[in-house]
């Protein structure tokens, strides 16, 4: 059975969720792999709302990127709609081709955080890039919130 073309960037090749069968079967143009408004993300922490949204097949959509650029890159904070609510998230992995030595992931991964930068979950289930450490530290310095807390719930670094 055919799945939505973009669903692999959310779930990855392993996950074949049954809910995708109910979606419309249409062909999209060559995907712009950069994350922008209305891009869907894969939540990779074990927060309740994140797990529920991914299980139901309604992944969060970006509605705003908190950076001066139009697109979201690894480490950027974004505002997402998830199950009818608005939450903040940090992008921890991009599908786009990355500069040398930075990992490129098969799915666009994100971790939900609150206003103070504390993650909503207690564990991150996939490896995250090491260069996030510097990016989040710099972000925390300018914003006054502590975004490096999500590094302590990470399991593996790549």
């Amino acid at each position: 059975p055919k799945m939505l073309r973009f669903s692999r960037q959310l779930f990855g090749p392993v996950f074949t969720p049954k809910m995708c069968l109910a979606k419309a079967d249409f062909h999209c143009t060559a995907s712009d792999l950069r994350l922008q408004k209305l891009s869907r993300l894969r939540i990779v922490d074990n927060s309740a709302i994140g797990r529920a949204a991914m299980m139901e097949g309604t992944p969060p959509k970006i509605i705003h990127v908190y950076s001066k650029k139009k697109f979201g890159y690894t480490g950027d904070k974004v505002l997402v709609t998830i199950k009818g609510e608005m939450k903040k998230a940090i992008i921890v992995g991009c599908h786009e081709n990355q500069p040398a030595l930075q990992p490129r992931f098969d799915t666009n991964n994100a971790v939900l955080v609150d206003e103070a930068g504390s993650p909503l979950g207690t564990r991150i289930l996939v490896p995250i890039p090491t260069h996030l450490r510097k990016k989040l530290k710099d972000m925390s310095r300018t914003k006054g919130a502590d975004y490096t807390k999500l590094l302590s719930i990470a399991t593996t670094f790549v």
Binding site: P1, K2, M3, L4, R5, S7, R8, G12, P13, V14, F15, T16, V44, G93, N97, Q98, P99, A100, L101, Q102, P103, R104, F105, D106, T107, N109, L125, V126, P127, T130, H131, L132, R133, K134, T155, T156, F157, V158
Partner: protein, 218 residues
């Protein structure tokens, strides 16, 4: 040539082993953000791009059910070691289709031991036909002439479109295409003549690295 001089100098400090697209490799880099200031990644080489000082290769692996790829520039001074864990070739010039293949073809343990083969043995060619996932692929791999894919599950439409895109027979007689993709012997001789004085030093440092590595393993 300055590029070549830089490449030779770099090869005196680090052993860049023989590898091909399809070889499983381990790369250790000096990473200021990682614990212990160094991080190691193991993966299968899916692509080799560029020439000279800009040459790079991409390693792919699946960790915690998450597929990931890292591109390394071969002569980057941040790289502290490059090892070939499994030296082998594949049937295709690139393995980008592994992104749409079943994950077991891209999964390699991070603590994989190097598989040694005899020095004079020919490079083994892995002629595995990779099984692809159901659903949409990122690219129409069936339309590219890739020998390493198991295309038994295609629909009739896909098979027809694949045949349509097949390269014509007369392309094999295109002399200019062959000329553009290869280096003439005269230019090759010039390059070999340029690096010949450095050869003894390079061979000596390679032998030093291999000896050090074996001593470290023992």
């Amino acid at each position: 040539m300055l590029d070549r001089h830089d490449m030779i100098t770099r090869r005196k400090h680090i052993d860049i082993p023989e590898f091909y697209v399809g070889s499983v490799m381990a790369v250790t880099i000096n990473d200021p953000n990682a614990t212990g200031r160094s991080s190691r990644f193991v993966g299968i080489c899916i692509q080799r791009m560029n020439r000279g000082l800009k040459s790079n290769f991409t390693l792919r692996n699946v960790l915690d059910y998450q597929g990931m790829e890292i591109m390394y520039e071969m002569y980057c001074p941040v790289i502290s070691s490059i090892e070939t864990l499994r030296l082998e070739k594949r049937l295709d010039p690139h393995l980008l289709y592994l992104r749409d293949a079943r994950p077991e073809y891209s999964t390699f343990p991070m603590d994989m031991e190097p598989e040694l083969i005899a020095e004079d043995a020919p490079v083994p060619i892995n002629d595995v036909k990779v099984k692809m996932i159901d659903g949409d692929w990122d690219k129409s791999w069936e339309r590219q002439e890739l020998k390493g894919i198991d295309l038994s599950g295609l629909t009739e439409l896909q098979k027809r479109m694949a045949l349509k895109r097949k390269t014509p027979d007369y392309v094999q007689y295109d002399l200019m295409k062959e000329y553009r993709s290869t280096l003439p012997e005269e230019d090759q001789e010039d390059i070999y003549r340029e690096i010949a004085p450095h050869y003894p030093a390079l061979v000596a440092s390679q032998r030093k690295f291999r000896r050090r590595k074996l001593a470290g393993d023992a």
